[in-house]
Symmetry: C2
Subunit: 199 residues, 2 copies
DNA sequence: TACGCGTGAGTGAGTGTTCACTCGCTTGGG
DNA sequence: CCCAAGCGAGTGAACACTCACTCACGCGTA
């Protein structure tokens, strides 16, 4: 998408809109997200959004594509660390607490997920996002099983279970602000402990 | 929920509406839930709903109150079984698969959870629902730790982690229909294994 | 240099629809 | 004959999206 020079910022309008979507989603969630609110985060008019995209959902899909790539990059980044450290770092990223700057977005993604059965436009980008996270986790675990850090657990099952727990914590921990932050941390931390070899 | 006679139904209008809400929520989700669709599940008119409730969200809150009670009852029911069996049964209930008759409702509850930050009316009933489930799980685990079935795990942390996993699986497994059913089952099953004493 | 012209980017003011909720009216049982 | 229970037909607001338009510019020509 970028031109090769990358010198004077050619601030691609589509990218700017995707960014505005991210900000607006985090602030307002999906149901309350209006094109007016998106335009408010963008520095252009509401109608201008439709010059670049055909529908609101298409803009959101574009944002999600970017988010999937970013997520994969973040979780794959620290290639030098050992797998236990990497898995704990991934959990730290995925289990968000209320007040965290990612909290709003996590709740919004949860909302989007719940709309997936009714919204074809969003379904694929969301699959990509969750799939990327799942793969990154499974890779970390597979590596750890391979080098003897972890027991002989099933990497796919473990990754799925862990991602489910992270996603699910967004509901009662972040959205409802129930007082379970410490419990959840002890919960996932103990789970990672239980994956370690020997004991 | 049933009155003791169970003979001639004294069909409390409020309860009937709550039931209609449940059916409509499962079918359409929350965003697409309109008062017209609720009335369609009810055998009365749209305006009739407002004779009993002041707002749509109040009807949903009433439904959630009922659901919390039902959930607590379901998870506490089989008091005779041993705690491992009870915990596995609870997981079986909480981890829903696409196609399951509960699937629609689970997705709808996930949607409602994601609206909680913006909707005061729904927040408390949702806290009750999640809290009831959390307590039921913690009780089962506490009992199992007490009688030596489980290791000396923290019941609250374990319950929170398990509920998070169940809730979160609704997103990518049920709403997105990603092909992770077998992985998830192996995941939670292995987790329950890891809670057992000795080994 | 000066001029007109096509075009990419953007706008302000609608428009049609969907929806929660209201209102004045009916009706049947006690 | 009263009143709880319910109805049909609105009503107004919110919102996604459209449309006719403006404007700044690069460029070929003279």
């Amino acid at each position: 998408m970028d031109d090769e020079t990358g010198d004077s910022v050619p601030p691609d309008a589509k990218a700017e809109i995707a960014e505005a979507i991210g900000a607006a989603l985090a602030k307002h969630g999906y149901e309350r997200l209006t094109t007016a609110k998106i335009a408010a985060e963008y520095d252009k008019s509401e109608a201008g959004l439709y010059y670049h995209y055909d529908s609101k959902d298409e803009m959101i899909a574009a944002f999600l594509d970017g988010a999937a790539a970013a997520q994969a990059a973040e979780l794959t980044d620290d290639d030098r660390e050992d797998s236990e450290t990497r898995l704990r770092a991934a959990c730290e990223r995925l289990f968000v607490a209320p007040g965290d700057e990612r909290a709003g977005l996590h709740v919004a993604v949860m909302e989007l997920l719940s709309h997936a059965p009714y919204n074809e436009t969003l379904r694929d980008p969301l699959r990509e996002l969750e799939g990327a996270t799942l793969d990154a986790l499974a890779d970390i675990i597979r590596e750890g099983v391979g080098d003897g850090t972890f027991r002989e657990v099933d990497p796919d099952a473990t990754a799925a279970f862990l991602l489910a727990a992270a996603d699910g914590s967004t509901g009662f921990h972040v959205a409802l602000e129930m007082d379970v932050g410490a419990d959840l941390r002890r919960g996932w931390s103990a789970y990672v402990d239980s994956l370690l070899a020997d004991g």
